[in-house]
């Protein structure tokens, strides 16, 4: 019996502001046959606000496949529209 653990990444691109919903699957196999699969998720948005200043979201820690999706869908227009959308929402 040989137990192994593998990780798989996939994502969905959601909405007009191209939120990238990342899903990391942890797959345990016994002699090559999958015995369990669990999911862990997070969401990436095209821009991030720090100290009241917008900047590109840091995706350097993401899997290369996820980085490729982000770089493909996060155009300058999308980034600008996302900033406007977030800034327009209610904040006290």
């Amino acid at each position: 019996m040989a137990l192994t653990k593998e990780f798989e990444y996939d994502c969905e691109v959601r909405g007009q502001y191209k939120a990238v919903q990342v899903r990391k699957a942890t797959i345990v196999k016994d002699d090559g046959k999958e015995t369990s699969r669990t999911y862990h998720r997070h969401v990436l948005h095209p821009r991030t606000k720090t100290d009241d200043t917008w900047g590109d979201t840091d995706i350097s820690g993401e899997d290369a496949s996820i980085q490729a999706v982000c770089n493909a869908v996060w155009t300058a227009d999308i980034k600008s529209a996302y900033e406007t959308f977030v800034d327009s929402q209610e904040t006290p």
Binding site: R14, G15, Q16, Y17, A19, Q21, R23, E34, R37, T38, Y39, H40, R41, H42, V43, H45, K49, T50, D51, D52, F85, V86, Q89, E90, T91, P92
Partner: protein, 163 residues
């Protein structure tokens, strides 16, 4: 409840994760159950302007997604909290909220050891967002800010939102 119809457009399996839609009680899009998933996420205390430095003793997030609705449970306890600025937020939700449906919020089930008494506390998710803001339900629309934080925070609540 009478179950009048169950049909499937494909059967998923471990070896072949075929997208599956099941229709319950009718054949229209309103009867389609096209997604179900359980998993975890990592909720993180952040600031709307700058993030506090936080040491967690417990940091858990669990979700169940049924169709377009995400049910979640969050639990924090901390042993250190310092710095940060702006509104205190919880980042790291597993799905972005529906950008065209700006109605999502609820009560925070348990919270204590903030710098001041902030009860009753409520949570809210903005449209198209993956983070939660915390509010005081005091008829003044006050938000919880990072300076309300303290070393030994405890926050636990459940809720749901549309994605």
């Amino acid at each position: 409840m009478a179950l009048t119809q169950i049909t499937g457009t494909g059967i998923g399996s471990v070896d072949s994760l075929t997208p599956t839609t099941i229709y319950l009680g009718g054949s229209g899009s309103a009867n389609a159950l096209d997604d179900y998933e359980e998993g975890t996420f990592t909720p993180t205390l952040t600031g709307s302007s700058s993030d506090p430095s936080v040491t967690y003793t417990t940091q858990e997030g669990h979700y169940t997604k049924v169709g377009s609705t995400v049910f979640f449970a969050i639990r924090f306890s901390t042993s250190a909290f310092s710095g940060g600025s702006g509104n205190l937020e919880i980042s790291g939700l597993p799905f972005t909220s529906n950008a065209s449906l700006d109605i999502r919020g609820g009560g925070v089930g348990l919270n204590y050891q903030f710098a001041t008494n902030l009860n009753p506390m409520a949570w809210r998710i903005n449209a198209g967002a993956s983070k939660i803001s915390l509010w005081r339900n005091n008829n003044n629309a006050d938000v919880v800010v990072t300076s309300n934080g303290a070393a030994s925070l405890r926050i636990e609540f459940t809720g749901f939102y549309s994605t």
